[in-house]
Amino acid sequence: MIQISNLTKTYAGSSKPSVDNLSLEVYDGEIFGFIGPNGAGKSTTIKCMTSIISFNEGSIVIDGISLKESPNEVKKLIGYVSDDHVLYEGLTGIEYINFICDVFNVPSAEREQRLHRLLEMFSLEEAVKNQISSYSHGMKQKLNIIGALIHEPKVWILDEPMTGLDPKSAYNLKLLMREHADKGNCVFFSSHVLEVVEKLCDRIGIIDDGQLITTCTISALKERNRDSSLEELFLKLTENVEM
């Protein structure tokens, strides 16, 4: 479970908070879709959750462990896919995965088996021995995902994970997300592709201008607005567009 309470982040040199008093909860067993316009504060929120940047006020608790008090214990629970897939380009794919496994203490005996399964799913068997600098954008994203999942974390935080993926890999990732949530874990998922969010997520949160506008289940949203798609509802809420 993810609990974010009164999260506020203001970057140095800026008078306006990028994330302003944001509170939300993500429960075990659900896929939570986090959506918003560009510059709304999605990535800032995610970077606070993954300890990439610090935050000014509020608290983040994951599985009962406070991020501020025990950041490393929280990080051990998280599998994070970044939106910019910046990796260690001097390493080969295998070396990168071994490094991640060393950090998360994945036993040697299990590494090969887990890796082969993921490589097959994302069609990266051939390229994994090559240097990451030679990878295409999509291949780097696949490796990014494999690195996030190889240590079987409880909480998945995925920031635009489908970007650059081919259809097969994108489909397999969605299957994995659903499988992971159905096992009682939670998935925090941010994307601009609202059709995917609509089909995949159990609940969504919409952020705009640093503030959380609304959270609700997909089914409740559809119940209230029968003839509108999520895309239309999103525009209505964030742009005040008349439908």
């Binding site: 610090s54 990080k75 910046v86 260690y88 380009e89 390493l91 496994c101 240097q131």
Partner: protein, 581 residues
């Protein structure tokens, strides 16, 4: 010609467009900015040139002295601009874009070469014009025969001066880059070759210094010394022949013949560059854009390592598989034993001279080796100075992983010490075998230097955590971050000051050893003070790393990076004068 003009115009416009756009204010033109930065050095050169000009007897000597000035400034430009010029020519991010345009590759090469020429010209002109005019005005004022057309032709001389260093950079780099394209995917081999090439250039440079600084017997008279200097100037002048013939033409010495030869040499250099561009430039640019397998040849292994070893291995591979990063990190450390060895011969320490007592010579040797070790392994340890900065944005990935700041710092510290430790062993071998220091001195040298290196390395890492910035985009940005770290600069100055104090203090005390109680007392004081200073550095480094560094780990990724205003760069602007932002 048309292609050249089209590309050149747009590159030139792009380079200077930042000056107005960024904050709406107009900035000083690049030439004026460069001139202002070079004023102190220019004044120094003018003073020295003016003093020398008083004793110049004739036009031939004037030509030789002018050649020295031009050659020295060319050498300075070569070393300052070398990597910037290579970035403009080969690593510019606008290369893919230009490749799609229907323009000849030779035209693109010459357009970029001209941009590099303009940047280098502003640097060289700010030093050459005042110094050459000073020499010639003082010479003429002493009543000697002077060709007054020189005062107009000196501008031609300045315009032509950048061509030689740029030709050298291009003539060396293009075939080597071409050969390098065949090593695509063999990044470690490329790194090793790059480092070897750099070391060869440095050895050549120091051998040149040694050649120029050859001294004769110490009991020569003033006239004999002056004669020797003039003879050496004449030899040097002949070595730098392209400069000699142009200067001779400007001074009216065999004007017709000199002009013809100078023109032929310049046309020859340009023709050779055209041939190289036709043969190599296209392939270099195309191959740079191709991906490669770059696969690891070793068998796949899933062996588990502890976190420190894993972090060190990751960091080391990141460095060694990137030749420019390896150069930034390792060049200073690797040059240390070369300078130590070359300066031993260049300073005539092996003989010491008949009038120099043995103990003075021993102290001199000791001081030199301490000085170089402190400067390069302590003050200029780029592995430590860029410990976190070199990671760039991949640091955010590290930050999202469950790696404690303590483990991260420990891994960086150990990795930064390894190359210095290896080179320190080489320094010890040089101390024993070449400098022939006694065993006690060598042991004390090893202990004191080890302490100083461990301490300064810790302090460098701390200051990189405190002032470094991972949000850089281009190599120029990385250089700006590393040069702007005042903490690292302070540590470098401290180690240099220690080295100089050891050298000067050792020499002065040795000269007065009889008054101070003998050479053993002098050595005792020397080692005592050096040990105390090294210990202080060690304690400071370890305490700072242990107790002060960790809080800065979280701050590293949060500093925004402000690139320097481009267009002021001597190497041609952002990312090597790119059209891409």
């Amino acid at each position: 010609m048309r292609d050249f003009l089209i590309v050149f115009k747009v590159l030139l416009k792009n380079q200077y467009s930042y000056r107005i756009a960024n904050n709406g204010k107009r900035k000083l033109p690049q030439g004026i900015t460069t001139l202002l930065c070079m004023i102190p050095l220019a004044i120094l050169i003018c003073i020295i040139a003016g003093v020398i000009a008083v004793i110049i007897p004739d036009k031939q000597t004037l030509s030789a002295v002018s050649n020295i000035i031009v050659s020295a400034v060319q050498l300075l430009a070569l070393f300052i601009s070398m990597f910037g010029v290579m970035n403009i020519l080969y690593n510019s991010p606008d290369t893919p874009f230009l490749n799609t345009l229907p323009v000849r590759h030779t035209a693109v090469f010459f357009a970029k070469f001209t941009i590099a020429y303009i940047s280098t010209l502003s640097l060289m002109a700010s030093l050459l014009l005042p110094s050459l005019l000073t020499v010639s005005i003082v010479y003429a004022a002493m009543g000697r025969a002077m060709f007054y057309g020189y005062f107009a032709l000196v501008f031609l001389l300045v315009l032509a001066a950048p061509i030689l260093p740029l030709f050298i950079v291009t003539a060396f780099s293009m075939p080597i880059s071409y050969i390098g394209t065949f090593f695509k995917g063999k990044s470690v081999l490329k790194t090793i070759l790059t480092l070897l090439f750099y070391l060869l250039i440095m050895v050549g440079y120091f051998l040149l210094i040694y050649f120029v600084n050859q001294t004769d017997s110490s009991d020569a008279t003033g006239d004999e010394i002056a004669g020797n200097v003039l003879a050496r100037l004449s030899v040097f002048s002949k070595v730098m022949y392209p400069n000699k013939v142009l200067i001779d033409f400007c001074l009216g010495i065999d004007a017709g013949k000199s002009f013809g030869i100078s023109l032929a040499i310049t046309v020859g250099m340009l023709a050779l560059m055209l041939i190289f561009a036709m043969l190599f430039y296209r392939r270099i640019n195309v191959r740079k854009l191709e991906t490669h397998s770059g696969s690891s040849k070793s068998a796949v292994s899933y062996k588990q390592s502890n976190i420190i070893a894993s972090l060190m291995a990751k960091d080391f591979k990141h460095i060694i598989r990137n030749s420019s990063l390896a150069m930034s990190s390792l060049a200073n450390i690797l040059i240390c034993p070369i300078i130590t060895a070359v300066m031993y011969f260049a300073s005539d320490m092996q003989t010491g001279g008949e009038d120099v007592p043995m103990y003075l010579n021993s102290t001199l040797k000791l001081s030199y080796i301490v000085l170089y070790t402190l400067i390069f392994l302590g003050g200029a340890n780029a592995m430590a100075m860029l410990a976190y900065t070199r990671e760039g944005r991949s640091f955010y990935l590290s930050k999202s992983l469950p790696i404690t700041p303590r483990d991260s710092i420990k891994a960086k510290y150990i990795l930064a010490l390894i190359p210095s430790a290896v080179v320190l062993i080489i320094q010890v071998i040089l101390a024993l075998a070449l400098y022939k220091l006694d065993i006690l001195s060598v042991i004390l040298f090893l202990v004191s230097m080890a302490m100083a290196i461990v301490g300064s390395t810790g302090l460098h890492i701390y200051f990189d955590m405190r002032y470094g910035n991972v949000n850089w985009n281009t190599r120029q940005d990385l250089r700006q971050v590393s040069q702007g770290n005042r903490g690292s600069l302070l540590i470098s100055l401290v180690t240099v000051a220690m080295g100089l104090a050891a050298m000067i203090g050792g020499m002065v005390m040795s000269a007065f050893s009889e008054i101070l109680g003998g050479i053993n007392v002098v050595l005792g004081v020397f080692w005592g003070v050096l040990m105390v200073c090294s210990l202080a550095l060690l304690v400071a480094g370890i305490l700072v790393i242990r107790y002060k560094a960790e809080p800065y780990y979280d701050e590293i990724g949060e500093r925004k990076f402000k690139p320097r205003e481009y267009g002021r760069s001597r190497s041609g602007g952002r990312g090597g004068n790119t059209l891409m932002r």
